[in-house]
């Protein structure tokens, strides 16, 4: 049982505040992805949980034990690093056995666990090799095997796939998901890759500027962004935003059209729609097409609506050229609204 509780964790490096005050509870066996652009504090948070960084404020609890002043070795965690950190002076076998030997496990147990995790990660034929004789993907497997062999309560992963090439990344992603689900450990996984986050996570914690902006199931984060940043960061292409002028009584004017929206006192808010939720229709937003990119399954159209850039993912059968005018209607129940002041969603 390893539930993780992060209570008011903040971190300041000299004059720079990397984390403001993070609160996050991660359930036992849950797979949580910390997602954000570089510099958002996600790696700092992971390192604080690992014990490689000391928080300036707040507490970290793992499995009902307060750990924020304990060294990494006393926390029941293991970690997979971005550059794998496979020890170059040891064989693959000794790498995987490293933590087990530190725990002074009996030899047969060490051999048993190394063999089992090596088989799990399909590297049993590499056990005698050194890291210099391995490819990037193989090193990655060794790093994961080394972490798994510890049978930790919590596995922490810091952008583990970012150094692999695209094809390998896809393969490892699926494999990691399977292996980690089977291992029944709690996993915290840091990435800046939204596709990775969506595909792996039970829950995504989107981070921005040292805060968690939203922590929810992937579909929820995608469909109902809690903040403008989440909508603009997640989704490729990202969410479209158009200014909406108040007409009163919860009615808003967007690019010359009336929409029913939230009852807000603000004179102007933002209208948001995902590119795939726009469809050609008779009465829609008038868009002047700028760029047309046929992507196979669909066509990506970049257009301007009332001077604001907007992207739409349309049927690939649609015949359209730059300079054309399209009438695009948003799917009504997919429209979201944001307050430009607070950047938060208005419901």
């Amino acid at each position: 049982m390893a539930e993780i509780e992060i209570k008011g964790v903040g971190k300041t490096f000299r004059a720079f505040t990397a984390l403001h005050s993070i609160d996050l509870t991660i359930n036992d066996q849950e797979f949580v992805v910390l997602l954000g652009a570089s510099g958002c504090g996600k790696t700092t948070l992971l390192r604080i949980i690992a014990g490689l960084e000391v928080p300036t404020t707040g507490e970290v609890w793992i499995g009902g034990r307060r750990v924020d002043r304990l060294p990494p070795r006393a926390r029941g965690i293991s970690m997979v690093f971005q550059n794998y950190a496979v020890f170059p002076h040891l064989t693959v076998f000794e790498n995987i056995a490293f933590g087990l030997r530190m725990q002074r496990l009996p030899k047969p147990e060490v051999v048993r666990r190394v063999t089992r995790t090596a088989e799990l990660m399909h590297i049993e034929q590499l056990l005698k090799r050194y890291s210099g004789q391995l490819s990037g993907g193989q090193r990655q497997r060794v790093a994961v095997a080394r972490a798994l062999a510890m049978e930790p309560d919590v596995i922490l992963m810091d952008e583990p796939l970012s150094n692999l090439d695209a094809l390998l990344r896809l393969e490892m992603r699926a494999e990691l998901k399977g292996v980690l689900a089977a291992s029944k450990t709690t996993t915290i996984y840091v990435t800046h890759d939204q596709v990775e986050a969506m595909s792996l996570a039970d829950r995504i914690a989107v981070m921005h500027g040292g805060d968690i902006v939203q922590a929810d199931r992937p579909v929820e984060v995608y469909r109902n962004p809690a903040a403008r940043f989440v909508g603009s960061f997640i989704g490729n292409p990202p969410m479209n935003f158009l200014p909406a002028r108040a007409l009163g009584e919860g009615r808003w004017q967007v690019a010359g059209h009336d929409f029913v929206g939230p009852r807000s006192a603000a004179p102007q808010i933002e209208f948001a729609i995902r590119p795939e939720d726009l469809h050609p229709a008779e009465h829609g937003l008038v868009a002047e097409v700028r760029v047309v990119e046929p992507l196979g399954p669909h066509t990506l159209v970049t257009a301007t609506v009332a001077g604001v850039m907007l992207r739409a993912v349309l049927e690939s059968t649609l015949v359209v050229a730059p300079g054309d005018h399209l009438s695009l209607a948003p799917v009504a129940d997919r429209i979201r609204w944001f307050d430009p002041e607070t950047q938060k969603a208005i419901t």
């Binding site: 014990g51 070795r73 970690m79 950190a85 002076h89 725990q103």
Partner: protein, 272 residues
């Protein structure tokens, strides 16, 4: 067309410079070795052969010369002690520079190099006085202390670049796998740094082995080989000079050659 001509001319100039540099370094060593390995009569004789006769009479005479073995032993003792002290203090400093951000880090790095900016005579004479006062004069330890200050900047710089080259992530991985800081250092950093540390130790050894000024000023009875030769060579026959020179140069050359990769690393030149 003209571009290739210029290119060729540049190549030739480069080649010439390389040859000149090699000749500059190699000819004296060659002459030294040839004469050291020739019979005493051949050294003063003329014409000379380009190939030594491998007559060991000069060397044998040199080794039998009164005081040489004692001086050789002093040299080894001082050099070993210098090596131990320079690495013992230099490696931790290099590690600190490589791993930690601390206030005054830049100043510290500068000061480490600064110690080489003082001419040795400036240091050696006050030190001699001081050593006499505290009773360190004419001791192996006293001289080793001076040599340590000379070797220390190199020890710090080499180990600094060495430790910088070992990713901190490896140590962190060890920390998450059950090590404390000390264990992480000895189980992960040390095995990776060992060859480089050995190299910088050898370099400290050579610095001490070759140093003559402080040795000459600070020792009387326990002269090192350099100081001993400096004192007695003017008045000794030519073959002895060559043999003594060779005895000094050859170990230093061999050592430096063995650790060249790490010395290049110190200057930031990749050599693979």
């Amino acid at each position: 067309m003209s571009k290739t001509t210029v290119h060729h001319a540049g190549n030739r100039l480069f080649l010439a410079a390389v040859v000149l540099a090699c000749v500059w370094v190699l000819v004296p060593i060659y002459l030294l070795l040839i004469n050291a390995l020739s019979a005493p009569a051949e050294v003063t004789g003329f014409p000379k052969w380009f190939w030594p006769s491998f007559d060991l009479a000069s060397i044998r005479f040199f080794l039998g010369f009164k005081g040489v073995t004692a001086a050789l032993w002093s040299s080894v003792q001082v050099a070993v002690l210098t090596m131990v002290m320079a690495i013992g203090t230099g490696a931790p400093a290099g590690y600190a520079l490589a791993r930690f951000d601390f206030p005054g880090k830049q100043v510290f790095r500068f000061l480490v190099v600064m110690t080489r900016a003082f001419p040795l005579p400036l240091l050696a004479l006050p030190l001699a006085v001081l050593f006499i006062r505290v009773g360190l004069d004419d001791t192996v330890l006293g001289l080793a202390l001076v040599h340590t200050t000379l070797a220390l900047p190199f020890a710090v710089l080499i180990t600094y670049s060495l430790f910088s080259g070992i990713p901190y992530e490896l140590e962190e991985a060890a920390l998450t796998l059950g090590c404390n800081r000390v264990q992480a250092f000895f189980k992960v950093v040390m095995p990776l740094a060992a060859p480089g540390i050995a190299a910088s130790a050898v370099f400290a050894f050579v610095v001490s082995w070759n140093e003559v000024f402080a040795a000459a000023v600070l020792t009387i009875e326990h002269r090192t080989l350099t100081a001993f030769l400096l004192q007695s060579l003017d008045v000794s026959p030519l073959p002895l000079k060559f043999a003594g020179g060779a005895a000094l140069v050859v170990p230093a050359l061999v050592f430096i050659f063995a650790v060249r990769k790490y010395l290049f690393a110190m200057w930031g030149i990749a050599n693979r």
